[in-house]
């Protein structure tokens, strides 16, 4: 019983930290070069991943709020697994094939950049 609650709390903390890290990184637009986040920038896939996890819709365009999908994507990102996913932009003119491992590396780089800025005098 206690173990169950402990496991649950650890899991909640992990998920909360993941979501906070993503929120800290995405849509800031104040540090570094803005163009990195544009459609031709090297951070564009991070935005597309956010859309893939949190902005899903069904065939008729209705928002899909399945928590299971969000949790499973966040866990795979957390562990950086080698599974490939397809990320697509809203206009469908950008399609990336990328692994969770690569995405995690890219998110980490973006976060480390923020850390570096936060500590610079």
């Amino acid at each position: 019983e206690q173990q169950y609650w402990l496991a649950r709390e650890i899991e909640n903390g992990r998920i909360a930290r993941n979501v906070m890290k993503l929120s800290v990184i995405l849509e800031r637009g104040d540090l570094g070069s803005q163009s990195n986040w544009s459609e031709v920038g090297d951070r564009f896939q991070l935005k597309l991943f956010r859309d893939y996890v949190f902005h899903r819709v069904d065939a008729s365009g209705k928002p899909d709020l399945g928590l299971g999908h969000m949790l499973s994507c966040m866990s795979k990102l957390d562990a950086g697994v080698d599974e490939q996913i397809m990320l697509t932009s809203r206009d469908n003119e950008t399609v990336f094939v990328i692994t969770y491992r690569e995405l995690r590396g890219m998110f980490e780089r973006a976060f480390n950049e923020l850390m570096k800025f936060s500590k610079s005098p």
Partner: protein, 442 residues
């Protein structure tokens, strides 16, 4: 296979992956996988679609290099960008080539007076070189072979970028060119005046050939249907494939130009682009009616690369378990996938200091006066002199803060005018209670 999309402006077989790459006039790029030409990845090389078409592709083991009129873009084959170079001197780029440094350096040129040397690995312009002429096509053989807009080929040293030799291949223009280690082959023609201010192209009924070993032009290959496109076969070193604008194709040997093997492509419209795969086992023709046709031998198997390893697509994801949004549903329902020896992304750095318990920042009443009031609150421009969301040190500024902590009655009495003997105790108490409430807007 036939794929409908925007009219392609550039087309190339990837020599290292079973992909066909196409670019269009808005700067969009798409890749098509395997002989089925199943759409694989897509990306843009420029944000502004009016900047001009995709001009050319080059291939590196790390990805694909794409040339636009004002930009050079390198992306992973799976789509994400590696670098995107813009330079004010990049005004009208048309062509590019690898240099003497293998695939680690490229030279880009165009209808402009400057050429740029780019380090492919670092993604940086390393040098600017004056262009001897304006160039429209570049191919790397033993030298960099650069076609001008006036029917001439400059044979450029791939180390010094100096013109070693010039060759007037056709009278007025070059429509297509290919080069390998030893040969340059060209299709071109002359202009025929059609009244004042207008002229039309007259293609030559032959393919011109230049021998790069002996630095001399050799006997042209006759092509009565008027030569428009030519490619050297990548495996058979003296074999060429020549096509007319309408799709009549001849397989001709440079050494023996009088024996030809003839094929007809049945096209809806005239040819726009023509390419051969590095395996020599696939050929692609794009017409002006937006069709892309793939040619090859069904019995030998159509294959783009010598390796022939097919492109794999992401597996359809397994359906995630259903989790309620209710408070009771444990978020641990979806566990972690198997992982080993890796730092989790959720690991939070230990050296970030968190300050807790400081009093919350207050809105300055003087500032509120500058804002417009609506039923949902106040709005207006930021005149605080602070950045958006800037942290305020609410501990340090306490002394200078106009909003002081409520005082005890005894403190108030001490601060109050001592000379006034008629201190209404009731009013005082009321004041004290008032000061405990949040600051009302003025």
């Amino acid at each position: 296979g036939v794929v409908g999309l925007q009219p392609a402006t550039a087309l190339a077989f990837d020599p290292q992956a079973e992909l066909l790459w196409a670019g269009d006039w808005k700067g969009r790029v798409a890749s098509f996988a395997n002989r089925e030409l199943r759409r694989y990845t897509a990306f843009k090389i420029q944000i502004d679609p009016t900047e001009g078409p995709v001009q050319q592709f080059l291939f590196h083991e790390k990805g694909v290099i794409v040339l636009g009129r004002r930009v050079v873009h390198m992306a992973m084959r799976r789509g994400p960008v590696l670098w995107n170079i813009r330079h004010e001197g990049m005004k009208d780029l048309r062509c590019m080539s690898f240099t003497s440094k293998g695939a680690s350096e490229i030279l880009v040129a165009g209808w402009q007076d400057t050429m740029f040397v780019i380090d492919v690995v670092k993604g940086e312009v390393t040098k600017q070189v004056p262009a001897p002429h304006h160039y429209k096509i570049m191919k790397r053989g033993r030298y960099i072979c650069a076609a001008t807009e006036t029917g001439r080929i400059d044979i450029v040293n791939p180390t010094t970028f100096k013109v070693e030799k010039e060759w007037q291949a056709h009278q007025s223009y070059i429509n297509d060119m290919d080069a390998s280690g030893d040969y340059i082959v060209t299709c071109g023609g002359s202009y025929k005046q059609q009244g004042p201010g207008s002229s039309s192209r007259v293609p030559d009924p032959y393919v011109n050939v230049y021998d790069l070993r002996n630095m001399t032009s050799i006997q042209p290959m006759p092509f009565p249907p008027l030569a428009a496109y030519v490619r050297l076969h990548p495996r058979m070193l003296t074999t060429t494939i020549v096509s007319s604008q309408q799709g009549q194709m001849h397989v001709v040997d440079i050494m023996n130009p009088n024996t030809t093997n003839i094929r007809y492509a049945h096209l809806q419209a005239s040819i726009n682009l023509f390419e051969i795969a590095s395996s020599g086992r696939a050929l692609v023709i794009a017409d002006n009616d937006r069709n892309i046709a793939l040619w090859g031998s069904p019995s030998d198997g159509i294959q783009f690369t010598n390796i022939g390893a097919p492109i794999t697509f992401p597996e359809p994801e397994e359906p995630a378990p259903h989790v309620d949004w209710s408070v009771d549903a444990p978020l641990s329902t979806v566990g972690m996938p198997y992982y080993y020896g890796t730092m989790l992304f959720s690991a939070w750095p230990a050296d970030i200091i968190s300050d807790a318990g400081a009093p919350p920042p207050q809105v300055d009443p003087a500032l509120l006066a500058t804002l417009n009031k609506t039923e949902f609150g106040y709005f207006g421009p930021n005149k605080t002199g602070l950045r958006r969301n800037q942290i305020e040190d609410t501990r340090a500024s306490k002394a200078s803060n106009k909003l002081q902590a409520p005082k005890f009655l005894s403190e108030r009495a001490r601060d109050g005018p001592v000379t006034d003997s008629h201190v209404d105790q009731e009013t005082l108490a009321q004041d004290a209670a008032e000061s405990l409430k949040p600051e009302p807007p003025p």
